[in-house]
Assembly symmetry: C2
Homo-oligomer: 289 residues x 2
């Protein structure tokens, strides 16, 4: 089986590494940057690299597309005529409803797209930060569509398992986008706003314990990718921000009223919820072993 | 020099450990929980433990008070007559303006209080989570008052240095409280609100990468301590929340307007600010070595 990875950034590069570790050798890269392709070849994680999809797609059985949503649509459209009949095109973008609709316009009839979301993004970009190990125990979401064959879905699930992902779950595009707006995009919106609300010229680093650095790690953000993700998931993200603001309003009101009992109730609730989450995460780690 | 630590929780216990590591042997504990005192003696981090301050304070040269603000005031008041003349009472609470005013009412004339904030809190409570190593490279803030002698301030700064703290800085109570409302309390208010805005019964753990777990670690919170800190720092905390909300409003508006350029500008700003913070933190680490 020939596998091609499109986009050798932090995610694509990590797939290349994880595939290598899992024993896959017939792996190729497609990227618009020759230096990145050269690096990937030197690292030994791809056999050869191509600027042009048409030079390798006609022989490729599985294409893993690790591109930003709009770029992924453009790539699929531009290579419409070059995919091998019966091939699987695996998507890895972080939004689904709008993206699946956009893709439906450009996908050729002779291939099958499997929509997935490997939840292992990083705040750094580029192949230098690629690491196959980031997938170990990570969540992997699979979003079936009416166009999918069960065999293809199972094939991708097996591959995800082989590459070390922890929980592998099938969900609808709508539920995916709703959950991701809460667990991924909202935290990013918060981290950015927290970081940007610092006053200029304060030496904030002198006044922090762990909290502020931890809550702002993801304020270092890839602006091209995330502006797309935010806008394409507008409906759910605005709702998640609203839900968050409602909770923050409760905290604010309790502070303003010096209402210690309400604050304690909110803190006990958040503690309980956090412990539940930790339990879910621990189970994941246990499963991993 | 005899040192007594009041309150052998996560902070007091960590001081006991750090003092032991630094070679201090004449260290005692005061706590209202006999089991905690027994544990500390078994761990070898205190020589002996006392429920009652009056049994050891008359011989104590340095008292490190690791209590919640209100409890610290009560402890000082209750032991008004037992402090050794010329002793130093070191405070470690997370708020200062209101606390210093409250303390002024109860501190006996024959001792000197040095107000500090060792920035090494933990989301877990109790001696079981005490670790002297949490102070390594951590920020240590010292808040001089009109009552302080320079010698006493330098004495505490030297001690902080010896215990492994990184940056040691003197600041005013007002600036301390303003900065802490931003770097510590606001992140906690955010983490709590994020955690509490999850919908009931969703298996959120299946849908997370690193962001959500990271931004909610501190949603596991000591409700007694933090309700005090939030309310006692009301003025600055409400302002910091407001500043944060203003920034979040900019993100929201840009999403609503599908204004990709504004989003990118906000993301680039947060990235730049974060890199600045990392540079400050790296310098701290370098200094530590």
């Amino acid at each position: 089986m020939k596998i091609s990875i499109v986009g050798l950034g932090v995610i694509g590069g990590s797939f290349a590494e994880a595939l290598k570790t899992a024993g896959y050798e017939d792996v190729y890269g497609i990227d618009n940057d020759q230096a990145t392709l050269d690096t990937a070849v030197e690292m030994g994680i791809i056999k050869a690299g191509y600027i042009d999809g048409k030079d390798i797609l006609p022989e490729t059985d599985l294409t893993i597309m690790a591109l930003y949503p709009k770029t992924a649509v453009r790539f699929t459209q531009a290579n419409h005529d070059y995919f091998k009949t019966g091939a699987i095109l695996m998507d890895t973008t972080g939004i689904k409803e709008k993206f699946i609709a956009d893709m439906a316009e450009v996908v050729p009839d002779n291939i099958e797209v499997v929509y997935t979301h490997p939840m292992a993004g990083r705040e750094n970009r580029g192949i230098a930060y690629a690491q196959g190990s980031v997938f170990q125990g990570a969540n992997f979401l699979l979003i079936p569509t009416d166009m999918n064959n069960e065999d293809s879905l199972v094939f991708i699930e097996d591959l995800a398992n082989e590459l070390g992902f922890g929980k592998i779950n099938r969900v609808s595009a709508a539920f995916h986008d709703q959950m991701i707006s809460f667990t991924s995009q909202l935290p990013h919106a918060i981290a950015i706003s927290l970081m940007n609300s610092d006053h200029e010229k304060r030496e904030t680093g002198k006044f922090t314990g762990d909290s502020y650095p931890e809550l702002t790690r993801i304020a270092k953000i890839n602006e091209d990718l995330w502006s797309e993700l935010f806008i394409d998931n507008k409906k759910y993200l605005l709702q998640s921000i609203k839900d968050f603001e409602n909770q923050l309003d409760l905290v604010k009101k309790a502070i303003r009223d010096e209402d210690s009992d309400t604050l304690k109730t909110l803190f006990i609730k958040s503690t309980t919820n956090r412990l539940k989450l930790e339990e879910q995460m621990d189970k994941r780690k246990i499963k991993r072993k």
